[in-house]
């Protein structure tokens, strides 16, 4: 049987303009990497929005897999901008293979 270890998977919904801020925070938390995936549309407190890339106002998900400890460090790093920039952050435990990498 393959061996797995438990890590945190963190997904952050953010404006495209702010991706650099989020990935800088990930780098500062010394997490090994991150992956960005696209988002089409959504609804929040300000009502619905559609992807409007021409206007630079669309969003993406930034996801990263990290140890519990580094995940906490990342959450601390992001805390100041979470509310001001209305990011959505969810995290949960996942099993990974090759866990020594994260």
């Amino acid at each position: 049987m393959i061996e797995t270890v438990v890590r945190k998977r963190i997904e952050i919904l953010t404006d495209v303009a702010l991706v650099g801020r989020v990935t800088d925070a990930i780098d500062r938390a010394e997490i090994t990497g991150w992956t960005v995936t696209p988002v089409n549309s959504g609804k929040g407190r300000d009502g619905p929005w559609r992807e409007e890339r021409v206007m630079g106002t669309d969003k993406v998900f930034v996801l990263t897999v990290a140890s519990q400890e580094r995940a906490n460090a990342l959450a601390e790093e992001l805390a100041p901008i979470l509310t001001s920039h209305s990011l959505l952050l969810t995290m949960w435990d996942v099993e990974v293979i090759r866990g020594e990498r994260f």
Binding site: L18, D46, G47, E51, E52, R53, V54, M55, S86
Partner: protein, 330 residues
């Protein structure tokens, strides 16, 4: 309203914009894929930049060009002060939101400019090729003024100013407009001849589809708008009227030709909805996009396309006519 204003409403370019508005209001699911809309926007900027550069390679750079540049940059710096006062006073916005909106009105809308050029050319008043460079120069000063007004000299947020300045000066549309302008100047009429079928023949057709998309987006945002009061609607129509009139007048007094004066008026009247919103998300995240995007994109943009370009053009003709008449009798 003269014949040429009416003519606007039989132009396919404007009619496609109206179709987009109507389709969205009727809640049709018509939509242009985003990658395509982005591509069309890049195409329009490359084409207008090239055309401007080729024109300047023929006409050369003279004092008129410098005057127009100076006027444009000054307008982009100063309009936000005026707009900010109105937005806080009459508009009842807080300082932050007023600053963000003001930055939009100091900057420019590329598509409004492009549409104006089409309409002015159809009316026999083509603006000078250098107006493209003026437009590029006007994109960003307003961002700095707007931030200053919103925030004072300090920044509590850890946003590094150098980062913002970089974002502002190397943002995609400035780079593409000025880059294509330079390419046009370097390669001149002869080099442009090779690529003209693509950048020139296709131009109006692409503009049609792009305006269709803009109509869809503007109307959909309008219908979802929540934070917009009647006071803000009045401002979103009043500002382009006033800014357009002031810009045109200043340009006419400075000796620009009819087309260029009208084009400068349109640049002053137009509000950014691409470069500035992105900069505001970075530098003023507390400001509400529901206010600044709705005002610039859903009210000012259609108002300019459908009505204000015609008014500015008529004003420019009148003013330049009067001034040259006065000049002629000297």
């Amino acid at each position: 309203m003269d014949a040429s204003t009416l003519q606007t409403f039989t132009s396919p370019v404007v009619l496609f914009f109206v179709l987009g508005l109507l389709a969205a209001f009727a809640r049709s699911d018509l939509a242009i894929p985003e990658a395509l809309a982005k591509g069309m926007s890049l195409y329009l900027m490359a084409a207008i930049g090239l055309k401007g550069g080729v024109a300047v390679s023929k006409s050369g750079i003279d004092s008129t060009v410098l005057i127009a540049l100076t006027l444009g940059i000054a307008a982009s710096f100063l309009i936000p002060f005026f707009a900010h006062a109105v937005l806080k006073g009459f508009g009842k916005l807080d300082r932050i939101n007023a600053g963000a909106v003001a930055a939009h009105y100091g900057s420019v809308s590329v598509v409004t400019f492009v549409t104006a050029v089409e309409i002015l050319e159809a009316q026999g008043k083509p603006p000078g090729g250098y107006m493209v460079a003026v437009m590029a120069a006007m994109e960003t000063p307003a961002i700095l003024t707007g931030l200053l007004l919103a925030r004072g000299m300090g920044s509590k947020d850890g946003q590094k100013p150098s980062e913002l300045l970089h974002e502002v000066f190397f943002n995609a549309s400035v780079v593409l407009l000025l880059g294509a302008f330079a390419i046009g100047m370097i390669s001149g009429t002869e080099g442009f001849g090779d690529v003209a079928p693509f950048f020139e023949a296709g131009f109006k057709g692409v503009l049609c589809l792009f305006l269709l998309d803009m109509g869809l987006i503007a109307a959909r945002r309008m219908m979802d708008a929540r934070a917009i009061t009647w006071r803000l609607i009045v401002i979103a129509i009043g500002l382009p009227l006033i800014n357009g009139a002031i810009g045109t007048t200043a340009a006419a007094l400075s000796g620009l030709d009819v087309g260029s004066a009208a084009a400068l008026g349109v640049l002053c009247a137009s509000a950014s909805y691409i470069a500035v919103p992105a900069a505001m998300r970075l530098a003023l995240p507390e400001a509400d996009p529901g206010i600044y995007l709705t005002m610039s994109l859903s009210i000012t943009f259609p108002f300019n396309i459908l009505i204000n370009i015609g008014l500015v053009s008529a004003l420019a003709s009148t003013l330049v006519g009067a001034l040259s008449g006065a000049g002629g009798t000297q």
